[in-house]
Symmetry: D2
Subunit: 263 residues, 4 copies
């Protein structure tokens, strides 16, 4: 934050942010991103075993939770009870635990508190998913190719599965049937996985990070959406978007797209 | 199909369609597309010099105008006066001639008549433009590469110019300034054209038809939209979409996106 | 061929060409391509059931065989016996039938006759295969994505299988082991087919024709080869290259690359 | 490893390597790469102002020069005089200074010493350039799109210029004339730079590093070469290839391709 704006009494006061899970790789990147943002101030770094009281003591208005599945539910409950908005990137939330959150947010302490649970902070992945659902209505064919580094353990990626579901929703809304495919002979499984009726291919390649290509085809044309994450730092604009918007979205929001203007 | 016709016992009665400019390449393709569609019936093919009376005599409900800039305004005026919906792909419309259309549609004869003026019937190009405007809000960098066959006379393409304008609108809405670019030395103009602040590159290559790539960049990531037209037949789904929707959109619509569900 | 060059007595005399299988789609395209070439003259179109004598009677120097597997071996034997060079695109040749060809070419009639058997006339596919073998030596990872129209019956394509074999040869020559791949969980087969140790993915999409992408990866980098056939006319430059070169390559050549300068 | 060393009982003895310019970013990366290679041993790190004597004292067999244009010529002369092979990535060499090197290598001290001057250690860029020259012979159209981070000062890149020259050589060898291009109207320069007759486009985009796309087009088809450098670590395989091969290539070699098997 620049000294000049810091001296203005008005709206320029930066938002006070705490990071939970600050010692992890994502957490450390989030700390740096908050520090580098003029409109945000990092007031607490909480590691494993640290007392959450420090978050309240530091006067945090928003907390970023990048901890582990076993800790995140308790963390968020505590934050709600203390009137602190939460931006949560930790996975492991179930429909049941989300329902618990909704109840707590509807209670006395939760009034006015905003919680964002975002399984994917990559803005580009969110855009790809949304655009895929829209484009799917207009094309006969749709396929997904996801590409990751050679150390990824599972295939296909969760993002690819979610994108396939989005395409299936778009096709259903448009009354489209199965994708056309005349394959009769595929002894080695070259046509890949089928997720919600959509073929999904997973490439594993040294030097890559996380990439998704969605291809749509109609007579005489092709439409392609592609998102490339070259570095985990690419998640930070999504994290900061969440931090900046969460206070003006009281209650529970699932998915970063809830804070984006995708109209 | 309009609610009115849906209520008839034989809901399957096809919509009666006339094609103006039926002898041209686009017109001939449109005739074939209408003939191939189960829910449409081709009732008149009008060529240069043919009397428009045949359109009304044939009982056409919708007319597709794929004629020439010098004829299209008179054609559409005649269609409105005869209560026939119009789907127009002919270029050459000005703000003034569009205003004339609006007035005629607001008049006695025009009530309930729908007119679609679509400079681009490629659904993929329309999607690319809309998605580009949305994505532009979230990325620091944006550039366009359009690629066409070697016989194209002008560069860049009109679609690329429109896409640049859409990106500029998206950036302005998000309060983004100029794209970052440290270029100091570019003696031969490799950075291409600048349209509305966006760099646009035009490739001319034998074997290609009409292609557009829009690239967005942020720290550690890239987002890409690509549309490939391999054949002019790719315009036909857009033409048919217009024919099917125009009756339920009385008044003037400019741009195929007005009939699409892009939310 | 232009009248002017036809009147010169010297090298400008066009080569006399016959097309066998002239009524098929590939054959008809070959006839047009020969007619359009200044240095070639189409002297015979042979269809199913026509007598091959017409080829000799017309004074053909080179014959293009684009017939069917059951006919091609007899056709080529006849051409050799009549001292006519052959360019063969028909599939179905076995090691045994090729060996028979070699013997006949080594006999009295075969001296000086050139025969090219080319399973793939797409110059780009030949380039991609050769370059893939070379590049494979220098990268840890290699994968193939082939993409075709939705009516293709088999997966993966023959070209993709040949390319996988070429990559495997390149890796073996460089002493490379298996491609790195940590996948532990792939319940739906998203990793695709494995051909000669190389993962191959097959996309089927309306609007596409025949496309191949070969991706190589190393630490911090990627190298990609891509070939797109938008139209079967793209095979014609390869056919004409064969016709022009076959007379100067006596004996049997298998693969168009034998006539190309790929050094 | 050279045949001589291969004959020693402990063939596994690693080659002793010094790095000049070890404190720079490329130099530091080279030190790490040498340390990580089982067949190499880092025996000296030389920074600005350090005495080169340490290189000889440490028994280095090969030295990697990643210093600055003003120092590299003297460094290499010294290395030759001490019988130490040199792998040089520093730019700034002129025809004149290269000629001086050749003379020194032909002299008494230079016998058997190998020097590699490599303006580009990215194996993928070297492959792209070589393949581009070969492919250029077979296609009517050729264009280059290079893409870099937004902080690059010059356009187009040196690699793109060299690639354009390679394409021009390939086209000349095949007797091809100018690329087909009907452009009549390009008021804003969208067709980009023309280098050796080839159109070159430069994209500048945040999040990218260094990328080159070479597109070839013929009737009905496209052939594409693409190289992506995501990280400067991608130069290291090329540096190590140079270190491993330089002893078996006495005399001067300009360009990493001189050590590669590109046949």
């Amino acid at each position: 934050m620049s000294p000049a704006s810091a001296s203005t009494p008005s709206a320029a006061r930066p938002t006070r942010v705490a990071v939970l899970g600050a010692a992890g790789r994502m957490g450390a990147a989030a700390c740096r991103a908050v520090e580098d943002a003029d409109d945000l101030e990092l007031v607490a770094r909480i590691g494993r075993g640290d007392d959450l009281t420090a978050v309240a003591d530091a006067g945090a208005e928003v907390a970023i939770d990048l901890t582990v599945p076993s800790a995140t539910a308790d963390n968020v409950a505590w934050l709600i009870d203390h009137g602190i908005h939460a931006v949560v990137g930790t996975t492991g939330w179930t429909e049941e635990s989300l329902e618990g959150l909704r109840e707590r947010l509807a209670g006395a302490e939760g009034v006015g508190v905003g919680v964002l649970i975002a399984p994917n902070f990559a803005i580009g992945a969110v855009l790809a998913m949304r655009f895929a659902e829209v484009a799917a209505r207009y094309y006969d064919s749709a396929e997904i190719i996801e590409m990751h580094h050679e150390n990824k353990l599972d295939a296909p990626s969760g993002t690819a599965r979610h994108t396939a579901a989005a395409i299936a929703r778009g096709r259903a809304a448009a009354g489209l049937g199965p994708v056309p495919d005349a394959t009769e002979k595929d002894p080695d499984g070259a046509r890949g996985a089928v997720v919600d009726g959509i073929h999904v291919h997973a490439v594993r390649q040294r030097g890559l990070v996380a990439h998704e290509v969605v291809q749509f085809g109609g007579v005489g044309e092709q439409f392609v959406l592609r998102h490339d994450s070259f570095d985990r730092i690419s998640f930070m604009p999504g994290v900061l978007l969440g931090v900046r918007e969460v206070a003006s979205h009281p209650g529970l929001t699932v998915g970063l797209d809830g804070f984006m203007d995708l109209g």
